[in-house]
Symmetry: C2
Subunit: 373 residues, 2 copies
Amino acid sequence: MISGERFSVVYRLVGDEKEAYRKARDICLEQTVEFPEELIPSGLIQDEIVGRIENFLPISEHIYEANVSYAIELTANEFTQLLNVIFGNISIKPGYRVERLEMPNRLLSQYPGPRYGRDGLREYLGVKDRPLLFTALKPLGLNPKQFADMAYKCALGGIDIIKDDHGLTDQVFAPFNERVYRCVEAVEKANRETGLRCIYVPNITAPMDKILARAKTAKEMGAKGLVVSPAIVGLDAMRVLANNDEIALPIFSHPAFQGSYVIAKNNGISHFALFGQITRLAGADAIIYPNFGGRFAFSREECEAIVMGTGVEMGHIKSIFPSPGGGISLDRIEELLKVYGKDVIFLVGGGLFKQGNDLIESCRYFNQMINKF
Amino acid sequence: MISGERFSVVYRLVGDEKEAYRKARDICLEQTVEFPEELIPSGLIQDEIVGRIENFLPISEHIYEANVSYAIELTANEFTQLLNVIFGNISIKPGYRVERLEMPNRLLSQYPGPRYGRDGLREYLGVKDRPLLFTALKPLGLNPKQFADMAYKCALGGIDIIKDDHGLTDQVFAPFNERVYRCVEAVEKANRETGLRCIYVPNITAPMDKILARAKTAKEMGAKGLVVSPAIVGLDAMRVLANNDEIALPIFSHPAFQGSYVIAKNNGISHFALFGQITRLAGADAIIYPNFGGRFAFSREECEAIVMGTGVEMGHIKSIFPSPGGGISLDRIEELLKVYGKDVIFLVGGGLFKQGNDLIESCRYFNQMINKF
């Protein structure tokens, strides 16, 4: 019943060597049997079910890394239970952080992962070798006609991807169906004029009993991608959406409600593992996150770790796009191109509006900045 | 379109007065319009959509509390969007923490909340005025017959509620259907012998596309309650399960994968708001959390805050049971009764096994301890 194949989670542990090792041993029990060590039945449970410390290394003063392996059968082929084995009970303890995952093909093969990934999304959008331009319809409180007008202008100005602000759901002042209908229409009109392939991606972060219907409605109305906040709907809901062959749209993951997992240095999940590995496994084609130096507090190193996580080798699971946002102003594009290179989707929302009163011109300027450097 | 009715979130902010006030103002924008302040259209958006600071108070040195109100229409009657307004983008910033929610009846009325609550669960179990006895089937790796034998003994010993360990899902060594079938049968057999009303509650934390089916299967097989880890499946999935009239079983919320929200002092959501208010709104009838002085790191004050959150006035939303667990040994029951009083469900798992080799006797001893003091 147990194949012997295991996957590993590398945890960063705080403490002196003895304390950190105690924590590593604690993980082995807490994430599996949750049982007094001295009473664990010998045989299968002790040998295969309990987590196993494969490696234990000092990293810096009072910081250790432990590689703990688990039998892949513990996850029961369920993404939810995989999350639980990685960080279920341990999430409740200070001084334990998930650094990275090491998953064999036998585990990865249970998950299709992103449908498009970097190459697929480039082909889908017809953009070969430059960064992609991304913006958001805002502010909350406008009506569908106003959002559609904004989408039209952004599409005319050469934006590749236009998304709903993540707080737009189905409010009475901009109901989902009318908003999607009008924005799709506006972007298609602009595309006919420009000959470009701009896409509109509505936010379908919604109650569990409505999210699939909302995604299907969006698809039927001609939306060409979906925004989902996985910490709000559950990471597994993103997996279900991404893997649904009837929907089959690119998924843009938004970090709302997810920050607490990465913000404490000595608890949670690393930027690399959460925004890279785990989100890829859940099927996102692009991961939106707050860029360094913007309104949020991620450091440049943390952003670079996200980029690495979006591209690190994971068997058949495709590489995905990092999409920094959260207060990027256009005068930073040159600097950011040096950091991110070409495989990036720049999400500029408020920054476009700050650029001036003519939204089309601001979008064109964004375009020029991307193509200039 | 805007009723003028608002709900409030009280945030705990770190900084000197100027910095904390800046943070409060930041929340007003970040959680709503996400738009440059100077460009916010006047009228409806500036007056009603942007969050409003209702109160701003010093709490201690470099700690302030801001009461920020939002138009209830921002939430679009969606629990997911309510979560986003409360703590979406702000989750990504250090120095902001949700302390408590103040929700008017018009907002609360959108949510049925717990089906049973404290009184309903007491009636359901036929236990009038003592703490409830709760245990978990473990360790992972046993087979369904072994779990059923354990459940039988616990039921004979007078346990009120027997749950799956939260890591038991549908593993090949204890498949869900067989496990539920056998455990229900075992507990019913014990009940016929004792005349008691012990219930078995399987863990249905499962992929989004399986969780409802698993809950229905459990109900059909005779399970009398459900364990769900809301951070793994999404808090909204718990709401859907709790509100489903076909399922109609008590819900026991497990904190796996949820710890990062409470563990950092200067980010996240307070124990009171997360384990009390939010989980009640999502429909849990009891909230499992790690007791102070056990394997985890919650303080006594944090546990007391959870208890307050489970019972604080929330319109028609029922009070629910706090269920401390995570390393309670039976010799602490006397002390814990003084802390928790009678309205509590003591979850003792490993502690029962540590008590001795005769599980029935250990359960009886647990019972005696509860009734003795």
